[in-house]
């Protein structure tokens, strides 16, 4: 017994040494730090994909970090700014699309043109047309579409049937008429979310522009810019529409739709995961336009950007991760789970995606709407312009100022921001 024990001990120590030697021989996986800005279930979905990537890519180790909301001016951007100033940046970041040029102007982001050109499936032409807007500044591309959305009109099918309305309105004029028919006790016809993203859509759908082509002057304070706001004000005063305000306005609007307190609402494609929990049949439709104007919609959400100051090996590893993330199987999984748009054209043509859209036709609507996507002005000062617009929107919907007056004031302030530096 003693002898066999001894042999066992020797054998196991030899095997341990062998294991250790093998472990030493294999190079340590390249670390990639990935900052994302989605919480709750979506964070769990992100972590699931990170886990899958690490499992299938032993030479790279991606570490996910929830850095607070990725939203415009959100906590994630504050942290990113601090990390840049401190010279200790993450490798890859989910960055809100309108921030691309602000961060690129400061030299923080890596130009991706050459890597994309030689990528097997992440060339600019591989992405669904419309999704490449707001991924760069001028000819330089800094971001790869990550979680993207478009504005969508949601409507309650049962309420439409009851009011004998055949389908969703295509124009804002029609929407107002439908809202009048749909309004009854405890239910308003329409609820828009009074945020700047929707102002972009309203302005463009009346033929307006936010800035001049040189991006040196605000051009939203005119009849086109005021038209959509004026319509919303008119509808609210007529009690056929309701506008939430305050810190939870977006969520409250969605909740009103789910609780059947509004027959329609103007929200984001990214709401679909919420709306899927509705206990009634609903439809998704394109953003309406004013009669006679071509549809033009802004896109929202975030791109994946790679930080310029990260070591080259890590940036390369991050690029492998980004390409894996956008590849068809992952983008389909992500889109089905969250309602964000699939990003590659190849994914759209896959049988899995086709089967999903057949079963969930509402989810296909934003993808088709992308054909009308327009780029928001890629100015490094755009956040400040948007804040001025948001302030005007708040004043307008509170009835404390007319659309023309509020937008004129906002335009003066935006001009200062655009020419100030």
């Amino acid at each position: 017994m003693k002898l066999s024990n001894g042999i066992l001990a020797v054998a196991s120590s030899i095997s341990l040494v062998t294991v250790a030697a093998t472990a030493q021989a294999a190079p340590a996986p390249t670390p990639v730090t990935f900052w994302y800005g989605l919480g709750g279930q979506q964070a769990a979905d992100v972590e699931h994909l990170i886990h899958e990537f690490n499992r299938t890519h032993p030479t790279i180790h991606v570490k996910g970090y929830f850095a607070g909301s990725y939203g415009a001016n959100g906590p994630e951007q504050q942290k990113l700014l601090a990390s840049i100033a401190a010279g200790k940046v993450p490798t890859v970041v989910q960055l809100e699309i309108h921030a691309t040029c602000s961060f690129a102007a400061g030299g923080a982001l890596m130009k991706l043109n050459s890597w994309m050109a030689s990528s097997p499936h992440d060339k600019s032409s591989d992405f669904i047309p419309g999704l490449m807007v707001n991924t760069g500044c001028g000819k330089a591309t800094y971001g790869v579409p990550f979680n993207r959305s478009v504005p969508i009109l949601y409507y309650n099918r049962a309420m439409f049937a009851k009011a004998h309305i055949a389908g969703p309105p295509k124009t804002w004029e029609q929407l107002a008429a439908d809202a009048r028919k749909l309004t009854r006790k405890g239910v308003v016809g329409f609820e828009p979310v009074n945020q700047w993203w929707f102002f972009e859509a309203m302005d463009w759908s009346a033929g307006g522009q936010i800035l001049n082509p040189a991006m040196t002057k605000a051009t939203f304070a005119n009849a086109a810019g005021a038209r959509g706001m004026a319509l919303w004000v008119k509808m609210v005063k007529e009690h056929i529409a309701y506008v939430h305000s305050g810190p939870n306005d977006f969520l409250e609007t969605i909740q009103d739709f789910l609780n059947q307190k509004t027959a329609m609402y103007f929200g984001s494609a990214a709401d679909m995961a919420f709306d899927d929990t509705a206990k009634f049949s609903w439809g998704a439709a394109y953003t309406p336009t004013f009669a006679g104007h071509r549809l033009a919609v802004p896109t929202g959400g975030a791109n994946a950007v790679i930080m310029a100051k990260a070591p080259l090996a890590q940036r390369k590893a991050a690029w492998t991760f980004v390409q894996w993330w956008t590849a068809a199987p992952q983008t389909i999984w992500w889109s089905e789970k969250t309602g964000y748009l699939p990003v590659l054209t190849a994914a759209l043509h896959s049988s899995a995606m086709k089967a999903f859209f057949k079963k969930n036709p509402n989810h296909a609507v934003p993808v088709y709407e992308l054909a009308y996507a327009r780029e928001a002005p890629p100015s490094p000062h755009y956040y400040q312009v948007l804040q001025d617009i948001q302030n005007a929107q708040d004043d307008i919907m509170d009835f404390s100022q007319t659309p023309q007056a509020a937008l004129a004031k906002a335009a003066t302030q935006a001009d200062q921001a655009l020419t100030g530096q």
Partner: protein
């Protein structure tokens, strides 16, 4: 007690003094280091930055002369709105805070049953983290929330406190009063307890009672404490940030945009650090002026002795 011989004392005075000085500086060093790195250093840097266009990301600063200040003071600039909101917020918080603090201070200085309990309850909000408390206030002030429910009991429909530009600042003022009244009450209380009992005793013997005792003896002797509270709460109000960051983001519109929030917005949201720094310098100047003015005017109403 052992006294050194006079001759010896004369010899060692000089070296003793410098040794004392060295020891003194050594003991001050940690505080000075912290002050220099986190207060005085940033202050000087901030002043310098306000004359530049500074990009935090690239680290490049470009001399801009007084253009940042010119932009701030330009007609129609958001700066004026922020300044006005800050003044309104300061008036709305300082006056009620000090009044309530004096009232509660006097009340809690009486021989009440459960006095310690009341003091604790009043002080508790001050030790509650501002951010957590502000989140609770959002819930209280939300549409059909607790505050609306209470108003409904009196037959009044709530205005949607945080969603209306007419009430959002008032809601933040209410939350701030709740947060800070207890702290200033404690300061007043300590001021009251520093009043020598023999003075009030003597006044009582001379026939002063109730209101006359309060007006002619207690309040004058409390005036240095009130001055201190006043200066502190004005500075605190001018620096309001957390509540606004959590509860309104400066909105709706610009109705709750205050100077420090505007500074933050310019620097950290719009990346215009030069402009942000200029707001900081203006804020410093305004506070210095206010404090100097308060100290100057205080000679008319503050009594350090009867």
């Amino acid at each position: 007690m052992v006294h050194p011989a006079p001759a010896l004392a004369r010899v060692t005075r000089r070296s003793g003094r410098s040794a004392d000085a060295r020891a003194g500086w050594l003991m001050l060093a940690p505080t000075l280091a912290v002050l220099l790195s986190f207060v005085i250093g940033p202050l000087v840097l901030g002043m310098g930055l306000s004359f530049t266009h500074y990009n935090l990301m690239s680290g490049q600063a470009q001399f801009a002369g007084v253009s940042n200040y010119r932009d701030l003071f330009a007609g129609g600039s958001t700066f004026w709105t922020a300044l006005l909101n800050t003044v309104l917020f300061t008036l709305g918080t300082v006056v009620p805070t000090i009044t309530l603090a004096v009232f509660f201070g006097i009340l809690l200085n009486q021989q009440l049953i459960g006095r310690t309990f009341y003091r604790t309850v009043l002080f508790a909000p001050y030790v509650t983290p501002l951010v957590g408390a502000s989140i609770a206030w959002i819930w209280l002030f939300r549409r059909q929330g607790f505050v609306d429910w209470v108003m409904q009991l009196f037959g009044v429909t709530g205005p949607g406190w945080l969603s209306s530009p007419h009430t959002a600042l008032i809601a933040i003022i209410i939350a701030t009063l709740w947060q800070y009244t207890g702290y200033f009450t404690m300061l007043v209380l300590s001021g009251l307890q520093a009043i020598p009992p023999d003075v009030t005793e003597a006044a009582r013997i001379d026939g002063a009672h109730g209101l006359s005792l309060l007006r002619q003896v207690v309040l004058p002797l409390l005036s240095p404490t009130i001055l201190f509270c006043l200066i502190l709460s004005v500075i605190q109000s001018f620096q309001v940030f957390d509540q606004i960051y959590v509860m309104t983001d400066g909105g709706p519109g610009t109705s709750t945009l205050t100077l420090v929030y505007y500074l933050y917005q310019l620097g950290f949201e719009f990346f215009h650090f030069g402009h942000g720094a200029a707001v900081g310098v203006v804020l410093l100047a305004v506070l210095l002026t206010f404090t100097a003015l308060q100290l100057k005017l205080s000679s008319r109403w503050v009594h350090y002795d009867l």
